[in-house]
């Protein structure tokens, strides 16, 4: 047996109403406006998980920047953390906007909420380039395989053979796997989950918050209006029946020191940038999320076999984050005083000498 700091039931324990977190804030401090999405939408379950994760992890709401593109998913940034600044921008451009925002204020915790259309189609280029820059953003994809806000067209993540609502039209094209692409681009925290598995979603979101670089969390989130029918592989019944967790996930935040014994033969511990831990208890799969080629193999095979594997797919924190690569001053660039962003007049004189 090995000793390590791992969770007992920390992240999973339901918080009682009125209970406060380490900042002395109650859950309601993390809530947002009323959702206007369809009743039963998977996105609303994810919103609840975000609220829970930020609450439990104890993130100060005023230090959070919420960004989104356009689509049903993009609306959700209004439904959580109303005490955080939010920016519902342009379709497909959230990733690039998040790059700019993070550089302006590297102290802000950035969460970007996107959809499969926003990420895998119109914004694919911006998404990949954000990932390869390793911008510290929790980039969440609410993946329902369709364009909900424009009434159910296939998206680029729809599986081959998926049937469009109303029948008849079958998707013939290869789906884009955002997790595989993220790994290819060097992402150091890649996870897949299901909106119907809130326990896993919350643990993965907290892990993403504790990660120092880009964290991509691709969550299958059924569209109850346009993609919840027989023949859809993104429907609630299908996902519920097919979800195959790679491991049982636990999360120990850095501020909760609990020593627990665990069996290294059945549980792997991953240490995150801020000292928090993710525990991965072995289930049916023998899977090592720190092995890049194994991760890509797994995604490749599961795509062919149309398996719905969830959990922490890949983890690596060897790449420095963008703000570190650029060696930015620790303070936010946004609020540096004039003396630090305007060189003295003598500097201008010295430069102009070169042009005489």
């Amino acid at each position: 047996m090995t000793s390590a700091t791992i969770p007992s039931e920390i992240s999973e324990a339901p918080r009682k109403v009125g209970q406060s977190n380490r900042l002395n804030l109650e859950l309601k401090a993390y809530k947002g406006g009323e959702s206007t999405l369809c009743s039963g939408c998977g996105h609303d379950a994810i919103t609840s998980a975000i609220i829970k994760a930020f609450f439990e992890y104890g993130v100060e709401p005023s230090t959070v920047a919420k960004l989104s593109g356009i689509g049903c998913s993009a609306k959700t940034t209004a439904y959580f953390l109303s005490r955080s600044h939010g920016f519902n921008g342009v379709h497909g451009r959230m990733a690039a906007m998040a790059v700019g925002s993070k550089l302006a204020n590297r102290k802000l915790v950035h969460i970007g909420v996107s959809g499969d259309g926003d990420t895998a189609s119109i914004g694919l280029g911006n998404f990949l380039h954000m990932v390869r820059r390793n911008v510290p953003v929790l980039y969440l994809i609410e993946n329902n395989g369709c364009y909900g806000l424009t009434k159910g067209q296939f998206s680029a993540t729809a599986d081959k053979g998926s049937i469009k609502k109303g029948g008849g039209i079958v998707n013939q094209m290869t789906p884009i796997d955002c997790c595989a692409l993220a790994i290819e681009m060097g992402c150091g925290y890649v996870a897949r989950s299901f909106s119907g598995d809130p326990k896993q979603v919350v643990a993965l979101l907290k892990g993403a918050l504790a990660h120092g670089g880009t964290a991509v969390v691709d969550i299958v989130s059924p569209c109850v209006t346009f993609n919840n029918h027989e023949g859809s592989t993104k429907s609630y019944p299908y996902a519920k029946a097919h979800e195959d967790p790679l491991h049982e996930l636990g999360f120990v935040p850095f501020f909760e020191e609990i020593r627990v014994d665990y069996d290294p033969g059945t549980t792997t511990v991953v240490k995150l940038a801020d000292g928090s831990l993710i525990t991965l208890k072995k289930l049916a799969h023998d899977y090592d999320p720190t092995n890049r080629s194994q991760a890509l193999d797994l995604l490749n095979q599961s795509s062919v076999a149309q398996q719905f594997l969830t959990g922490l797919i890949y983890f690596d924190q060897s790449t420095p984050a963008l703000d570190e690569q650029l060696n930015l001053v620790p303070e936010p660039l946004a609020t540096l005083p004039e003396a630090r962003i305007r060189p003295p007049a003598s500097a201008l004189g010295a430069i102009l000498e070169r042009f005489r």
Partner: protein, 619 residues
Amino acid sequence: MSIAMEPRTHRGAVGVEASAKPVVNDLVVTVATSNGTGSQSANLILMRAIFGMGIPVSGKNMFPSNIQGLPTWFTVRANAEGWTARRRDADVFVAMNVESVAEDVASLRPGAILVITKSLASYVNRDDLKVHVVPFDELVVPVCKDARLRKMVVNILYVGVLAHLLDIEMDEVKNAIAKQFAKKGSAAKLNTDAAVAGFEWAREHLPKQNQLVLRRTNSTAGQIIIEGNQASALGLMFGGITVLAWYPITPSSSLCEACIDYLEEYRRDPETGKATYAVIQAEDELASIAMVVGAGWAGARAATATAGPGISLMSEIAGLAYFAEIPAVIIDVQRMGPSTGLPTRTCQGDIWKAYNLSHGDCKHPMLLPGNMAECFEFAAESLNLAERLQTLVFVMTDLDLGMNSWMSQPFEPNLKPIDRGKVLSDEDLARVGEFARYKDIDGDGICYRTLPGSKHPNSAYFTRGTGHTEAATYSEKPGDWAGNLDRLTRKFDTARKLLPRPIIKLAKGAKLGIIAFGSSDPAVEEARVLLVAEEGISTDYCRLRALPIGSEVREFIASHAVVYVVEQNRDAQCASILRLECPEQATLIRSILHYNGLPIDARSIVEGITLGEKRSRPS
């Protein structure tokens, strides 16, 4: 494409060939080479040597969209009066390129001096030129042992030959070489030797002409020679830019690259290496403007630089910046034409598009620098205006300003203080209590904003490009929508008062007005003198330095019988905007349009106005 395609004027600023006396300090030298041969260095040395003699100069580079092998021309104009606009006819032509030589020779005005490399001598089929055949390929051999370098070193030989022919002081040539190759001592020596070899050969073999001469004077004392992209880059750096996101595109790339160099040198702590700026080379222009807007939202002073095709890609986010009221700066170094057009030729063809860029109702303030000092000052000030007005601000330069060599007085260091605009701090919020992001408290259309990261519980708001109320909540109500658009119009009217005023120059008894902007300025100034001298036409001149216009421009238009708007595009884009702004005077506004890709010259303006006046005269 050859510059030879342009009609000859047979008349320069001074009638050179008509004069028997030597013309002192007034000439145009054009050099035709093949790009990628290092001729740019030789041409800059030629220009700098003349500048070093105290004679005002300008350098215009007509280069192809190509890395190696296509024709390129460089024109140096030296003019005692300080006229620096392009002049059409070369007085002296150096022909080094087989690709263009036939057209080049045909294009020369009668009496022009032609220096031609020996291998091309058979192309000289005219007897009205003063031809000097120079065996450049033979001369370079003893100077340059390394055969691979000869095609580059051969260029500096013609500088030596011209020094002899035109009385350019060799000491100034050597000074210019030392400056050009300041970091490469061996290259400096090689080039100096070559220049001297060219000079000595010419002294022995070529008769000295006395028609065109250069003589030392002191008209350039204290001045600098700089390109507008470097000036704009300096402006951004001293303007306190904190985030620069860009995508490479001619002719704006050198702006961003210069800015990176300056930032690296002056905005990074020498001890810790920590930077007070971030630069990202984005994946495309969609991303670069998205990064700028994301950064501006979070409180950075953020900018990008691009050209026409980039502007097109930025269109959607320009609308977001306008409607969500995010500070952002785009420097548009304009180039020729739609699509890829002529990427290495100049124009002012993005005015109309940029002014209203995006969908729905959008209009953006734009600054119109007309010289190097303004490229510097306006780039710096654009960051202030973007934050003050909480909107996208354009700075419209062009390839002529951005990539050609311009003389300038050194820039004044006394820029306006850095203005962060109406940003509410936590202390402000604690004092005022309430906060509604889009409420016009001051009646100027500009609302207060808070920055992400503010601690006050009332500071957070939700930014969106969709319809919103004063409190930044979602709204589709007609009243909210229309009210917001009307407030944005008020804000635009406030911008009129904050933007740089026009420069108005009045002439005694003038009935005609000229309106121009940007790189057209030197040609307009020269044309005004020529119009008086040749046609007896006096003109008043209003140089726009920003759009939208303010009251002075309105009054200028209203107080003239006719106003000629000079611009470098086909569709009279600025004139169209002025007609909309001044509908009562719309019929008084005429256009002088120049759109062949070359920088506008004074002669084109003189011809345009003379023709316009003849047409309107009762017969």
